[in-house]
Symmetry: C2
Subunit: 326 residues, 2 copies
Amino acid sequence: MRLARRSLAALSLAIAPARAQTDPLPSWREGPRRRAILDFVAAVTTPGTADFVPPPERIATFDNDGTLWVEQPVYTQLLFARDRLRALAPTHPDWAQDALLNAALAGDMPAVLAGGSAGILRLLGLALGGLSPDAGRRLAAEWLATARDARWGRPYTALVYQPMLEVLALLRAHGFKTFIVSGGGVEFVRAFSETAYGIPPHQVVGSSFALQPGQADGRITLTMEPRVDFVDDGPGKPVGIARFIGRRPIAAFGNSDGDWHMLRYTTEGAGRRLGMIIHHDDAAREYAYDRQSHVGRLARGLDDAPARGWHVASMRQDWAHIFPGA
Amino acid sequence: MRLARRSLAALSLAIAPARAQTDPLPSWREGPRRRAILDFVAAVTTPGTADFVPPPERIATFDNDGTLWVEQPVYTQLLFARDRLRALAPTHPDWAQDALLNAALAGDMPAVLAGGSAGILRLLGLALGGLSPDAGRRLAAEWLATARDARWGRPYTALVYQPMLEVLALLRAHGFKTFIVSGGGVEFVRAFSETAYGIPPHQVVGSSFALQPGQADGRITLTMEPRVDFVDDGPGKPVGIARFIGRRPIAAFGNSDGDWHMLRYTTEGAGRRLGMIIHHDDAAREYAYDRQSHVGRLARGLDDAPARGWHVASMRQDWAHIFPGA
């Protein structure tokens, strides 16, 4: 028992007094978005008020690509899939007949992206197919440990957004459970979510491949098939939330039209809600893209935000820092 | 921040000192099973030892029917489905042509049980089909609030096992996350898991029906179809664990051969593990059944327990009390 008591005490010390003394959102510049987050948290956690939400119902969901880390010029999981497929290609001569695979192996990312999320998930499925979920996650973790982003020369896990890490910490310090709800393959995201965001595997909802149970060497095995069995994107996000979380979030953060349904599902619930879109409008410090982008296209979200009360955070204006350690 | 700090402090006060002073398993009689649980918890939570497991990996999974609450003479969710189907039957004259539905409507439970878990899930799917997950859960909660078990005349949620509530509390006080991994329909279990066991919806893995996203009255809707899309039983339990929890448990509790794969998957992992089977051998205080039972059949588990190091807890010998407040 001593350990449990000490861990809880340490946790409480680590988060609460530090925040109470200092600014919980130092990377957010003063303005309506920063205030929207702080006001929302104060409102739903102040007992005795109309907006109060009991801790078990404090669920916040976050898209990953473009919301918690960089998604340009291509989704990171696609670069992982490309590298893995290149390693596997010599034993799969049949892949040469396949246009999508050929584009991936050649590194022709515009051609791959033109295939949309179905094509990307198909490539990831071929990259991970035949592996156990654990093995797939290990492979992704090993790749992430050595791969470097071309623009910054840094590991992809260093390209997470400091302002969003602060939002995650703020919400958790106020009794929220924070979930990732990503269109990305769930095992790829789980490979780094705990170290990068403090989000454990069971709080990651993502797209997935069919899992085949079996046996080998007297042990139970689980094998990922290359067949996608759930696409956690667009209308799939509310489905994933209902299935995995089992509760409508009271706050949701996204950045693309793939998050539109999640934002709606969240903010259509009764009571005080927070919906926020991260708008990539900072080509100097990160990227600038929205309506015309193949990656992270954002059009409906911008159109609907005012009427739906969603906050559009401007990277350029609202974020004093983009990456940790800046 | 004050609230978060106070909730954590309250939580820590509620569980830790009470346990440190008193017996954490008062309903478990002295003996090998009680010692197995306490030794396991001490081993995996003592830093600096070979068996130490860091808190994020302290995952424990529990079957529900027959492990956390009574499953005889028939699974409770089947009684809920029967009552719901009876209410719906007048508007479904076609159901009269269906042998399984006829048996359910007539209350002929032996005939229904002969159809196995596929038949039971089919009935539950028809009972819940067309509803949202939230509406299905509300309906189940309403039913549970008024339905009474025939033998004890008590609500089904009062027929949870006090010794298992103590195990859940003990594990959580030591940094474990506790999950239900049930063959039952996930929304039925979520209807009472938080109040009965302190297990939130996102820590309930269960069988599920296809969820259809849509729209009505300008809002996003989710509708359960009567079609089962995941059976979280037998070989499906490791699949459900990998998909929803994303981590191999280090402890698992079950009572029937539907838990055999989960027990294997758990105890085949490296390092110290705990596998335990609750053996229903107490006809006087609860029920006595195993190899011949249609509900909660237990044969392979009993055969394999010695070689696999699984502990078989005897309700009669190991449990001083069965139900809370006894």
